[in-house]
């Protein structure tokens, strides 16, 4: 047998975030805690399938008239319309004027990739500015799509909040027309979001420089409020892209459901843009999967199920907020040195603790607590039962490790 044609292929590195779970699984300790991956867990530490999702699935399975034919390249039409309404608002003029094209994509990642490939082919500026820090997969997605990636200041470690002046400066010096990635809400990994006033300033700056907004919306829970930033931009009549994920807010992680919307100046432009999006998608995977999108459409179009969903969504969000409060209270009770108010100020699933890599390693080794080395913890992985253990670990790390 001849030598492998792949003999020169090297072993690729493990994904750092997924690697945390690998290490966690190997750990035998009864008190181990996985605060790595951003997937919701119940108070009992188990994954959650929403009741309304199970109901929708049952309806789909029971409907004998349903078939498994190919969806159009752009995906399930109902799903697309309903997704646009969800993110832009049912009364959005952009939707009513047919200026929005929405295509079903493979969750948030797929939406980002399709949008990026479209921009790399059809947009005159090939640079995208991403916040520092951002989700680990963002740079790869954009680079492989053919864009070049630059960053803008976002997180201020000294305040554990937004470096707003740095952000304005960096966007202010970006070349006119450059693409800017914005986390719509619940910034990953920091949980630090601009206030509405700050969003307005960002909007004005971006529009004055013709910077093109590309929103990543993975955490729309408080359904209207969390889309506020996006709607602000759309309300001024300008253009933008929005990548939408149903992984977290409907718990449909593995079904890979999402949508890419592009808001255009005119309906005519939107139609032409959509035709080109199809050419990007077809040689990637032809057309998207039906199951997840069908679940979403079933829920969104039924008034009662929609209400049920928002109730379950609120329960998930409330549990996370409660964990934040409990952790903060526990650290205060222990007199842990430092200001921990960012735990209750930060938004969404993650807390950027501010712990350094040494402290993180210490917590893993001594307390069997697993998180990404940047000090990001997934609040969804906590429960009332495990908060004390985490608080002890943070206290020990802060007081004994530099």
């Amino acid at each position: 047998m001849s030598d492998s044609v792949f003999a020169s292929v090297v072993q690729a590195p493990e994904d750092p975030i997924l690697g945390v779970t690998v290490a966690y699984n190997k750990d035998q300790s009864p008190v181990k805690l996985n605060l790595g991956v951003g997937a919701y867990r119940t108070e009992e530490g188990k994954p959650l399938v929403l009741n309304v999702v199970r109901k929708a699935e049952q309806m789909l399975v029971n409907d004998q008239s349903r078939v498994k034919e190919y969806l159009p390249i752009t995906g399930l039409a109902d799903f697309n319309k309903l997704s646009a309404k969800l993110i832009f608002g049912a009364n959005s003029p952009a939707i009513q004027e047919n200026r929005v094209t929405t295509v079903q994509c493979l969750s948030g990642t797929g939406s980002l990739r399709v949008g990026a490939e479209f921009l790399a082919r059809h947009y005159h500026e090939k640079t995208i500015y991403i916040p520092q820090p951002t989700w680990g997969n963002h740079p790869k997605v954009f680079t492989l799509a053919g864009l070049s990636v630059k960053s803008y200041r976002y997180y201020d470690p000294s305040t554990r909040g937004l470096d707003f002046s740095g952000l304005l400066e960096d966007l202010g010096s970006a070349p006119s027309g450059a693409i800017v990635l914005l986390h719509a809400c619940a910034h990953n990994p920091t949980g630090v979001d601009p206030t509405s006033d700050q969003w307005e300033q960002i909007r004005q700056l971006m529009r004055s420089k013709g910077l093109l907004p590309f929103f990543d919306s993975a955490y729309q829970r408080n359904l209207d409020a969390d889309a506020g930033s996006i709607r602000l931009f759309v309300a001024d009549g300008g253009e933008c892209l929005a990548a939408q994920s149903y992984a977290k807010n409907m718990g449909l992680y593995g079904e890979r459901v999402g949508a890419l919307s592009i808001v255009c100046k005119t309906a005519d432009v939107a139609t032409r843009v959509e035709s080109q999006l199809k050419l990007v998608i077809r040689p990637m995977y032809s057309n998207p999967p039906i199951h997840g999108a069908s679940i979403v459409a079933t829920i969104l179009k039924d008034g009662d199920m929609y209400t049920e969903w928002s109730v379950e969504l609120k329960a998930m969000a409330d549990r996370i907020i409660s964990m934040r409060q409990q952790l903060y209270d526990a650290l205060c009770a222990r007199g842990t040195p430092g200001d921990w108010s960012h735990i209750i100020k930060q938004i969404g699933m993650f807390t950027f603790t501010g712990l350094n890599t040494n402290q993180v390693a210490f917590m893993t080794k001594e307390y069997h607590i697993y998180m990404t080395s940047d000090g990001r913890i997934s609040m969804a992985g906590l429960s009332s039962r495990t908060v004390p253990h985490l608080a002890d670990a943070i206290h020990a790390a802060v007081t004994s490790v530099a």
């Binding site: 047998m1 493979l106 969750s107 593995g254 890979r256 040689p283 990637m284 032809s286 999967p289």
Partner: protein, 300 residues
Amino acid sequence: MVEETLKLAYGENSDLLKDKRVAAVQALSGTGACRLFADFQKRFSPDSQIYIPVPTWANHHNIWRDAHVPQRTFHYYHPQSRGLDFASMMDDIKNAPNGSFFLLHACAHNPTGVDPSEEQWREISQQFKVKGHFAFFDMAYQGFASGDPERDAKSIRIFLEDGHLIGCPILCKEYGTLWSESWLSNPPVHGALIVSTILGDPDLKKLWLKEVKGMADRIIGMRTTLRENLEKLGSPLPWEHVTKQIGMFCYSGMTPEQVDRLTKEYHIYMTRNGRISMAGVTTGNVGYLANAIHEVTKSG
């Protein structure tokens, strides 16, 4: 699911699987798998090209183009005989630089339905060995072609017996991770669970094989009926290829103009290369179809 799929493609008792020499990852159907391979090929063999048969599924060209892999073609379909242009195909294989990448349809070639015979596959495999070529098999119709998945995978099994390294619609794991992560992070779970449930349960698998055979048999039945009807109508043209061709499609040999007439005058829709999806033919419409084809082709 990946495990069960590998057994289906390579055989239950494949040494390849026992020796763990297959790297495999779930992909987004055939298109996704082709694209993943194309991107991988570009990354690890940046100077390589892909040889694509003429004709092929139109999207193949888009896939390798978007992956920035230059394309060349090799002879495949012989319009006059409506069969395989084996001699020219072998010439192209011999004349390609050593170690070239070839896209091969494992069975039920799309759009022609023309497959090499077992003997011809063996010759192709031998020539690939001599030249050190790499075969990427697109197998979208395993089970559909003959009704027997084992039989439909014959081409792949021949290549494996001969010791080739090949690529197939299920793909590279560690190496593919980087790419699949930047497209979709991880693949959709629902479809894969359905597949693994079926392939992993002996009773369900048996039921599946029966249903696949049922589908394949219906299509083969329609081929026979269509050909019989055309011959009965006294068509001056040869229609042997309708029953010789394999899989879902019949490459009828009709011209684009004839196809346009079928659409305009008879409301029959097909791609302009004359490719008929036999799956759309039923006992209820085969007579109408035969008559329409006869009408537009009888004057030659």
